[in-house]
Symmetry: D2
Subunit: 471 residues, 4 copies
């Protein structure tokens, strides 16, 4: 993915929940789990915990703007006592950061307290919001997640338990969601019926966890049990796990961008390992766009696995062409326009001995504005590369996503206003090949996918969505 | 009032609202207004503003824990654009500070956005909360203020305008309240029918303000127009001021503690100037407890005016006996128990030349645990005072307040377990006189007052109150 | 003293040293001592401690920009272990704050470590600096204090002990100084031969303290023993106190501004109590400028004692005419020029019932630009004062101070370009009287004073001073 | 290199200087240069600049604890005006961070101001310090760098210019140093006669830079001109570059650890490219320890290049076996001992599809305590690796370094108390091979190296060094 000064495809969110029936504090595990999901959101984060043996309304929470290790200091973490909890990381926006929208939401309602963390986006928000407003609702946030919480509270009034209220709510809401909910005695996970958003179940000793990705389970030494099924509601109490699959259905549509870009390399989602998927993307590129060259290199870090896949499939050696300065991060002072010309190598620098005299195949997972790619090609050639052939492991994304992914707008996307050959010309490459739409499926085998951002075919009716209300 | 390590009577809250039809930013005026109401709450504060010419939902707010000048830095303040706004200061608690409960509440509802700041406490919260919960409400805070906002939103669905919704809400809620509300085109002020909490109206050039106390008007150079009438709803729009007095009633009960302790010396509330009231308190003490002495001195800063009043009434000279170190504040590291003995003079020190060889009358507005008073008397005598006669300008407060004042509990109050003579003995005074209940009225002339904390006679039914839910 | 937007006379510095032979930590006592000297400097502060039983080079220090309670948090303070230490508060400047110049200076030299805190200013700095530079010295700060430390280190090479080195150094330096020095086994206090700067000795249990003012002793419950004699070097070790008075001399020149303005009301310096001195100043004004009036009031806080003195001498009643908002402090966002007109009452507000219909005598300790005074008079008259007679308890200061006091420059001083009558006209007073030079001595009895800033007669040769090098 | 909870070999420092004769501000370039040298020191950093057209004593500096992007915010950077400047990054210690020792040192002396940044360590510090102390020197820091500055100041008194003073100083000091010095009109770079520390010269437009590594030149778009010669003093003024090579000598001893570990992959030092050197290290390991295996993988990030070299030399495929979580950084809350067992995968996680069923060769650049390596091997085997053969691209380091490298002590080093076979057993590898001492030279061709930490043969007399005084 591209570097400053370009815009990026932004991750949506990550959620993590854990229940420890032994009574030990879970906040540190949530902290480590969220740290492993940090790639899914860097804007804000939060943790809410409660003690299942304590009084029902006693939910402790801490939220803040920034990374997990910025928001949580040792003292804060140590003061979050409780053996049940949920956590959330939220994506970073360029605009005004807003602590109000940080999650988990912690709410009081007729049956006590509820903490809710949500990854995804609904598409019938206008209708949902209007229904609530007409009965006098007030909203503290601008998130879809608050709508979900509201309906759970309403349904709870006449339901036998919170799971039933959640089931009724799930029937009303349409869209993408991975939810983890802490009801004072229960941890509940909910996944949307199409499986647009990932959610999985893990175990360590007697504790159970629900997380957006399996890497969060690995990070805390837990065992991956299985993915939450699309449409499934999983409830974990001191008596064990129960599952409700009333909303499970045949039709599925797993977001292809998890495999192309979002998910972490060491996660496995719905049976497909992310690393494997990206290796296969590289192989598909090698088959679609063969070229006589000396070396395959990836743009760090996002292009590395597909480059490896291209190398393995083509037999052309794999190389490391760039050094990435990991200290150039979020809080780095950006060069001014004038300085920028002389500082393209701040974040990435070419390893000259690797590329000198070589014909290079350069792989990345996407091209947004093309500026970074153009810079990299210029750097490679200045360092002695004879030619640079660019391969992109995703098709151009041309349609908005209504399910929680922040695809740059058409104006920012070079692919929406230029042909592939014009782009090739602009970035200064000898050749350019985008992943073909028809090859995309090969990344994930038989898995049914949503690729609406690439082909405009949405897996559900999207009229009624409210834009700019992502969480 | 007493100093660390004693507990204090805590202020409730202060509110400030302003509408500038000319379109200029009002955030600086709110900042200065809140700074002048800071004595009413030091825990948290906030400002919400909107532009009456802009889109209706566009309410900008900033809230934080701490004093006004800690929470608002120049940049934050300058980013709060809008010509209509409300602000709030909240009292300081010893327990866990909670940003969630900071005000103004900023809410979205069927008609757009609403910002609400509330001083006071309701007594039928249990019933109100239960009514809302049964229809599926969710609560983000534990404040009464959120209940009020909820009912306004509900009533608004079928009301002609927000004032009507507020009127219907005011009919449902019982308790003490001074409210300022920014509805995107209007500034609204509401005062409880008994007038328990103060609220007044001011004007500067074309702008109108509503504030808890008149000192906030003086501070920004505005002119005091009048007190909001108990039960009145005042609405300010670009077309001027309108008033609804449907809930105005004969019976009134103005909180006596505003005059004894809460309000600022330079404010005038319901026609009674605070300085004058305290001077009269001192005079009443002089009449009730005359004593042959050389000097009348006050405990800084709370006891000074009553000491002045005692002096004027008795003819005994007024003196300044203590130096107060204003750098010993909120964030000061408290002495340990061991250090405490040697550091009683950290905050207040005796001016020896003033007291040496003198018979002293020492005046304060209250005694909580008695420790500070005992220390001061010891200091005076060590500095050469011949005798110390203590006069307290309030009767012992013996009953809980349900209207938003944080009276220390019986356990902390020395007066609830000891006779006046025992207290005199404990603090080491030659004589001790508390303001007599029957003299209290003399502070405020004919003004009908609530003095339930002193005599247990509550001006309304208080069953149904929920404790520990103050804002 | 005057308030924003005027400039102020700035304090120089305060020093505090303590030695506890019992081995207990002294950092908390230094913290409380410095808090009591905070009025002497608000720019930066620091504490250095060492353990007299530990290795000689082990000096722990913490310094920072800001007030004592901003720079020292509980954890920092608790980590400063040692039974011997010195502390420093430095004045606040409007310009660039500079942590480099914060004190105490902590230095390594041939005999180990030394910590030094200095109040005052030398006048032969150019000569001293040049002598050091010519032998290859390097300077980390721009302070006179570093020059003193340097000479001590040089003299120490051939001296028998650090006191001898200090004595030799004291013979070379000319100017004003109160020094506290922690040499790993000793606490040493040094006062300049003219006694320009104050320094005193105290005791609590087995511990000894040296402080700029006696109020710092009171604050920690210590007993005042005596002032350090001008020219005296006092050394405190586990074996007790020794004194060297080789540099003591007949001629003395105690800074009059300590009595007029700098020192705290509850301090006693060189036998003169500050409160008493200011009462006498008021009496002198009453004698010099009698007027028929109803009330004497002071500008808070600096004008209060002299107002009291005027009242007592004249028999005209003393009143409290202003409420001072103590929340309007250092970090307060200043009103813009436009807002200023409407916010003159932010910091001080008139108590109308006190002044209405009265002929007022208004007392302050100085007038700098006159703007604040003009505002106060306008406020008084708007509140109904019939007339306002201004009395100033110091003569106009017209000459620069080279001894460490930051007198505003001529351009800022209204008195340097206007006659008293012109000033009266400008501020809008009915009459104006400055303390007469010939009455000044009456404040302090027989005490020989330096009043060079008032009459230009410096008590020593000041050629060779380097301006803008204050500490 | 190893991860928490192991200790690390710590970098020494990095320096950067720049002179822009056109007069434009250089602070941003220093910021970017230091960011590229951040791997050389994370404890503290600083920038000092001056305007060569301005007054001579006007040096602006800012220093702080932490990373470059933590210490410098936009406002701070923008306030550092000047066209000449030096910067410094300092290594991170586990112990008490000390702002006093942060660099550049900014000093006043006889000829004005001097800013100095130093990478390296002297070995005759005791003698140098004693010489200074005996003439009365005072020290504000505990760094060797202050000694160097002192001697420059002393020599300057009688020298014709600062270069001459530096030359005399260089004759007195012994040890390792790369120095950049800003004298108000000149930028000067100095390298120790053995060339232990790197230092190089670059150019961009009319500006010249001196930096510890060439990567800092690349980062700002500058051209590498040449390495500063061992013993050379380079002076850059508005009139161009002059060089003094009086101290240049035949004998050289370049630190081998720059090539093994310290320097950045994209730097070239003394003609040897770091990436190339590490590729050759891998090749040497492949030749020395061949093994029948399926995949060569490196420990991120330090082991990757040598793994690549091993792969290329052996023909065994290169793979990416680990995902590294870049959000687990300096401020991360470390797991407790109990949590640690379940959280070994927090920082690094295995990519299971890569290693399953494979015989793995695992390459890293060093082994300190062995704990991390043991964890990685356990992770690999749990993920299905059939066998793990460890190759280490440096010999065990067994001797202390006195030249500024923080080699862990013997107690921490597993190699100092165990044979290679014992270590193999402890970490659970099938085989273990350390780089052979005799192969080391192959990394850097003919370049004369210092490898004292590996064989104990120091390139100069080291008696007289003072331990624990690194900068």
């Amino acid at each position: 993915m591209e570097f400053l000064p370009e815009c990026e495809i932004k991750e949506e969110c990550g959620v993590f929940g854990i229940f420890n029936p032994d009574g030990g504090d879970v906040a540190p595990s949530i902290y480590y789990g969220l740290s492993s999901l940090q790639h899914r959101g860097q804007e804000s984060c939060g943790i809410a915990v409660c003690d299942t043996m304590g009084p029902k309304g006693n939910m402790n929470a801490h939220k803040g703007m920034g990374l997990v290790n910025e928001v949580f200091k040792e003292e804060t973490l140590n003061n979050l006592h409780g053996n049940l909890g949920v956590g959330h990381v939220r994506y970073s926006t360029t605009g005004a950061a807003n602590i109000n929208n940080a999650q988990p939401l912690v709410l009081n309602y007729i049956k006590g307290t509820l903490a809710l963390a949500h990854n995804g986006n609904l598409v019938n928000t206008a209708e949902l919001r209007s229904e609530l407003e007409r009965t006098g609702a007030i909203f503290h946030t601008t998130t879809d997640s608050e709508l979900i919480a509201y309906f759970i509270a309403r349904e709870r009034v006449n339901a036998h338990n919170v799971e039933e209220a959640i089931l009724h709510t799930a029937k009303k809401i349409r869209g993408a969601y991975g939810l983890v909910i802490a009801s004072p005695r229960k941890l509940i996970g909910v996944r949307d019926p199409l499986g647009l958003k990932p959610l999985c179940l893990g175990k360590r000793d007697g504790s159970y966890m629900i997380a957006s990705e399996s890497c969060a389970l690995s990070a805390i030494g837990a065992e991956f049990i299985r993915d939450i099924r699309p449409g499934e509601i999983v409830t974990i109490t001191k008596d064990g796990i129960t599952s409700n699959c009333q909303l499970c259905q045949e039709k599925r549509a797993h977001c292809i961008f998890e495999y192309i870009y979002f998910a972490r390399l060491d996660s496995t989602i719905d049976g497909i390992n992310i690393y494997d998927a990206r290796i296969r993307a590289g192989a598909a590129l090698a088959a679609a766009y063969p070229v006589d060259a000396d070396l395959v290199v990836g743009v760090p870090d996002s292009g590395i696995p597909a480059a490896k896949g291209y190398s393995e499939a083509s037999g052309i050696p794999f190389g490391i062409a760039f050094y990435k300065n990991s200290y150039v991060g979020r809080t780095f002072i950006k060069p001014t326009q004038k300085e920028r010309e002389s500082s393209v190598r701040l974040k990435l620098n070419v390893l000259e001995p690797v590329v000198r005299g070589k014909r290079i195949i350069l792989v990345d997972d996407s091209i947004v504005r093309g500026t970074t790619m153009a810079n990299l090609i210029r750097m490679l050639k200045k360092a002695g590369a004879v030619s640079v052939h660019v391969r992109v492991s995703s098709p151009p994304f041309l349609y908005p996503c209504y399910f929680g992914t922040d695809i740059p707008s058409n104006k920012q996307l070079i692919a929406s206003s230029h042909t592939a050959d014009e782009i090739r010309e602009i970035i200064g490459a000898e050749s350019l090949g985008y992943m073909k739409l028809e090859d995309l499926q090969s990344m994930v085998g038989e898995l049914p996918i949503c690729r609406a951002c690439l082909d405009g075919k949405y897996p559900m009716d999207i009229t009624g969505h409210t834009e700019d209300k992502k969480q």
